[in-house]
């Protein structure tokens, strides 16, 4: 192992080392604030360490890791999202009964799994990351031991994720049988040499797609999403919606572009159908939801549907648009769930839309944050979501994917309907809210999030320039 290897692995080492330190801290002195502070600090250091790797990229370690600008960018947004989720968890987890410090340990292990996915160039690392992420998430989802819905969601996720892992693993095995390699780029070149896909390979890829589809909650593997979003503690939901999906998306994009799936008519058709159905079904089912968490769950299905359009663009610019979209989506989603987490108490999860009635007139600040997040999800100008959607539509049009772009446009209108329904509730004239006041960390985090949504919406040029200049696959 060279020095460069070691340097390149430093973010992972920090993220893997932090939980061990926390365990030791807990055994010496169980102090919630200390553990929280240490977690925030470690994530900050891990984030900072990325900048030291930048001169070393591109770099691969054995066959497993690939450290390039693409994976570093994903690593960056994953760690930042984990940081935001950590900050939003502070109040929420503090109110829980029993031991709470362990929450941060699991948050770190799941972040480790997600980060490994971002740098994976090999089925082994892919699966390792996938499982590390999944197993940590079982625990996080069921973290509120006293709540039935939380346990139920945990078990549901356990079963679903195990099934999806099985599919994924079997798919990988089939592809290994066909090509004798597990490295993404070698699989890609093997396919390229063969010229066409054998049934074995098609089956293999199909099964892998099932596994990935489950995690990304794409149609027709989306059923679990609303229940788990609803049952999990709000910060964990934010985590599943962003970090977990983003990491999977990172590996999916890398793999799909390595095997040049967009050139294959079957894949093209399958991805198109999945995309159109995901956005349509997600949006249609969201319309009648009375529970904000479920509504956001369906909205996330639709958003993933928009995002996978770029798989078919087959260009670097397409990938860049996906990265911008994910960045905007991460910030926005964490903001929306952040509001829910901060307004929830140990007894009452602020998840019913009715709970938010007239919030604007009593707590204008938090209502504005939620409104901006929802407008951003709906893709209204001045917010990050608008530019993100524009970018995807832009690249989609450029690649000539008119049907997909049109269905995205139609879906945006449907989506608008339920987002403004929530906003209308926020601005309703009646209602006395019982929701609690916000803490300092909560306010700070929300302020950061709102600021980034607006900055990305009004002056996105700088980030787009960075992405276009540096991020290539």
């Amino acid at each position: 192992m060279t020095i460069t290897d070691f340097l390149c692995l430093s973010p992972f080492l920090i993220i893997a080392g932090a939980p061990i330190v926390i365990m030791i801290l807990i055994s010496i002195l169980r102090n919630y604030a200390v553990v929280f502070g240490f977690s925030v600090l470690s994530l900050l250091i891990a984030f900072a360490s990325i900048f030291f790797i930048v001169p070393a990229e591109p770099h691969s370690i054995k066959q497993l890791f690939i450290i390039d600008s693409y994976s570093l960018f994903f690593l960056g947004i994953i760690i930042l999202s984990a940081l935001l989720v950590t900050m939003l968890s502070y109040e929420y987890i503090k109110q829980l009964e029993g031991v709470r410090e362990e929450y941060y340990i699991i948050l770190f292990t799941s972040t480790l799994g997600a980060s490994l996915l971002a740098v994976a160039n090999h089925f082994i690392l892919f699966f390792l990351g996938f499982e590390t992420l999944s197993i940590s998430l079982y625990i996080l989802i069921a973290f509120q031991k006293t709540k039935d819905s939380s346990i139920e969601a945990g078990i549901k996720y356990l079963i679903m994720a195990s099934v999806s892992s099985a599919f994924l693993l079997f798919g990988m095995a089939l592809i290994y049988t066909a090509f004798g390699t597990m490295q993404f780029n070698e699989v890609g070149s093997a396919i390229h040499n063969q010229g066409q896909f054998s049934p074995l390979v098609i089956t293999g890829f199909g099964m892998m797609m099932v596994g990935i589809g489950f995690k990304l909650a794409l149609f027709p593997f989306h059923m679990w999403t609303p229940d788990i979003y609803q049952g999990a503690p709000a910060p964990v939901t934010a985590y599943i919606a962003t970090v977990s999906k983003g990491a999977l998306m990172a590996v999916l994009i890398r793999f799909f572009f390595n095997i040049k799936g967009f050139d294959n008519p079957y894949f093209f058709a399958v991805i198109s159908v999945i995309s159109i159905f995901s956005m349509t079904i997600g949006n249609l089912l969201a319309i009648r939801q009375q529970n904000l968490k479920r509504l956001l769950a369906y909205s996330s299905i639709a958003n993933m549907g928009y995002l996978i359009i770029i798989l078919l663009t087959g260009s670097n610019r397409g990938i860049q648009s996906a990265i911008f979209f994910l960045t905007a989506y991460f910030v926005t989603t964490i903001g929306a769930f952040g509001v829910i987490s901060l307004l929830s108490t140990a007894k009452n999860e602020a998840e019913k839309i009715a709970d938010y009635e007239g919030l604007f007139w009593e707590r204008p600040w938090i209502a504005i944050v939620l409104t901006i997040c929802l407008l951003s999800l709906a893709g209204i100008p001045v917010t990050a979501g608008f530019i993100a959607k524009f970018y995807i539509i832009f690249e989609g049009m450029k690649a000539g994917l008119l049907v997909l772009v049109f269905s995205m446009i139609i879906n945006s209108v449907i989506g608008l309907y339920y987002y403004i329904r929530v906003i209308t509730t926020l601005f309703a004239n009646t209602g006395k809210t019982k929701l609690p006041l916000l803490s300092f960390t909560g306010n700070l985090t929300l302020a950061l999030i709102t600021l980034s949504i607006l900055v990305l919406g009004i002056y996105p040029g700088w980030l787009i320039n960075i992405i276009v200049k540096f991020v290539h696959l």
Partner: protein, 513 residues
């Protein structure tokens, strides 16, 4: 730079009004008034510039925004946008004044939204970058949605949804078209840009041009509105607070008309000619159908809302007539309709503020108690039916003459609209101010504040009617430029189709120069 300041002042004013409104509602009213007045004065400073005979921008500013996509902050002002800006700020000031007593709850947030809508409208009238244009186009929606949804009347929620979804759907279709135009232009010239002036000469096949134009039309025709797409309008106008109805009718609808003149005709000259017969027909349907529905209403505010549908029919009729007279008429109609319909909505607001009903069947014989209000109602109903001496007469007459040059049949049908307008306008007067008293209302006449508002509107509509020449002078360069682009592009088309149109020019469309 002044153009940018116009928008920035409104935005800053919006936030100040909101913050100040928490302390004292009066402050936010004063701040809004101040912001709009400053803008009005700034805009007026342009109107004293001598108008050059050849076309040029009165002011032009271009800054980088998102250079990666070729998006710039490009604002420019010509005679057409100048007239519309003057209208915007004038009516914006009135909107603040008429809300002085009507809006008592959440005053700060109300003015925040009001100024934000104004900023969006100003942006739409000034943008010369298509992305920026779309940005402002959408920016108007959210605050307008709040304005209807929070301060509206009984069915405000449904009306605000309808408004938002209709306009957003139209807007998104336009957005696709903007992108398509961008890529077509980029591929043929290698220059990827959203700049309007660059995109002007884009070459494309006629079917592509048609599809792209339809996308733009979707947005503009929904806003205008044209009959099959007008469904949102009566609800939104009826349920909005008076200031909201005023802005909707007088300004938001004009953004659609402006879009037709500024974007559809110059960007798609040949496709526009092909679409013209349909466009004119839609205009006529709008004129007659809107008038018929207006006549059938018992809700006074709804009645006035439908008159907008009718009057906007003249706009689309004129736009697709392709000659100077018609275009002068369209510009005049935009201004005159803004003033007269705005005034009628203000009157409805004053009435329902006193009577707490908008039901025509419960009114009648109100002249006795409120002669001043009655006089105002008389003047603006007369304006609405196109009485000579008032602005609307000039506008509609010019549009009819212009349309006559293009298609005699269409023009004749459209002139029936004037009769229909007479019927519904007189009905307003008879049901509200004349006739028997259906109920003994105890109401007072206009207050000083209301008199000032109404008087200023009367002055403007009379001046427009008696001295329209300055308006024509201001709009002329922009109109000629639009027509020029249109003529250059469509020469092959018109020559080839000349035989058809000359043989049967009552039914077919032809252009006379």
């Amino acid at each position: 730079m002044i153009l940018l300041y116009l928008i920035v002042i409104l935005l800053v004013g919006a936030f100040l009004a909101w913050i100040a409104g928490k302390r004292n509602p009066l402050w936010s009213r004063v701040i809004s008034l101040a912001a709009l007045s400053i803008d009005l004065v700034l805009t007026m400073s342009f109107s004293f510039q001598p108008l050059a005979p050849e076309y040029k921008w009165l002011a032009d500013i271009k800054l980088d925004w998102i250079s990666e996509f070729g998006i710039s902050l490009h604002l420019a002002l010509d005679g057409l946008s100048l007239l519309l800006l003057l209208l915007t700020f004038f009516l914006g000031i009135l909107a603040v004044i008429i809300s002085w007593k009507e809006i008592n709850s959440k005053v700060g947030f109300f003015h925040f939204n009001l100024l934000l809508i104004m900023a969006g409208i100003v942006g739409v009238f000034l943008s010369l970058d298509l992305f920026l244009f779309y940005f402002f186009w959408e920016l108007m929606l959210v605050p307008m949605y709040f304005l209807i949804g929070i301060w509206g009347h009984e069915n405000k929620t449904a009306a605000s949804y309808k408004f938002f979804l209709y306009t957003q759907a139209g807007g998104l279709l336009m957005f696709i078209s903007i992108l398509a135009l961008y890529f077509i232009h980029g591929r043929s010239t290698g220059l990827y840009t959203f700049d309007y002036l660059q995109l002007l000469g884009t070459e494309m096949s006629s079917s592509t041009g048609m599809f792209i134009m339809l996308g733009f039309l979707a947005a503009f025709l929904v806003k205008l509105p044209v009959v099959p797409l007008h469904n949102w309008l009566p609800d939104a106008h009826t349920e909005a607070p008076t200031a909201g109805s005023l802005i909707l009718a007088a300004l938001l609808l004009k953004t659609g008309a402006y879009g037709l003149l500024r974007f559809i005709i110059p960007l798609f000259p040949s496709a526009a000619v092909i679409f013209a017969p349909i466009g004119m027909l839609l205009g006529i349907i709008g004129i007659l159908y809107g008038a018929k529905l207006a006549f059938a209403q018992v809700d006074l505010k709804r009645l006035v809302a439908y008159t907008s549908v009718s009057h906007m029919g003249f706009v689309i009729l004129g736009v697709f007539s392709f000659n100077e007279l018609a275009y002068q008429g369209v510009v005049m109609q935009m201004l005159a309709h803004g003033i007269s319909t705005g005034a009628l909505f203000i009157m409805v607001g004053q009435l329902s503020g006193r009577l707490h009903t908008r039901d025509l069947r419960k009114m009648g014989g109100l002249w006795e108690q409120a002669p001043v209000m009655g006089t105002m109602g008389l003047i603006f109903s007369m304006a609405s039916l196109g009485l000579p001496g008032l602005g609307n007469f000039i506008a509609e007459l010019l549009i009819l003459i212009g349309a006559f040059k293009s298609s005699i049949l269409m023009s004749c049908l459209a002139s029936l609209g004037l009769i229909a307008a007479t019927i519904y306008s007189l009905r307003i007067l008879q049901k509200v101010f004349y006739g028997n008293k259906n109920k003994n209302w105890d109401m007072n006449d206009l207050t000083i504040r209301e008199r000032i508002v109404s008087a200023s509107l009367v002055i403007v509509i009379v001046v427009l009617g008696l001295f329209p020449q300055p308006v024509f002078n201001a709009a002329k360069p922009a109109i000629l430029k639009t027509l020029e682009a249109q003529k250059e592009k469509t020469i092959p088309f018109t020559e080839s189709s000349k035989d058809k149109s000359s043989t049967n020019n009552i039914f077919f469309f032809h252009r006379s120069n």
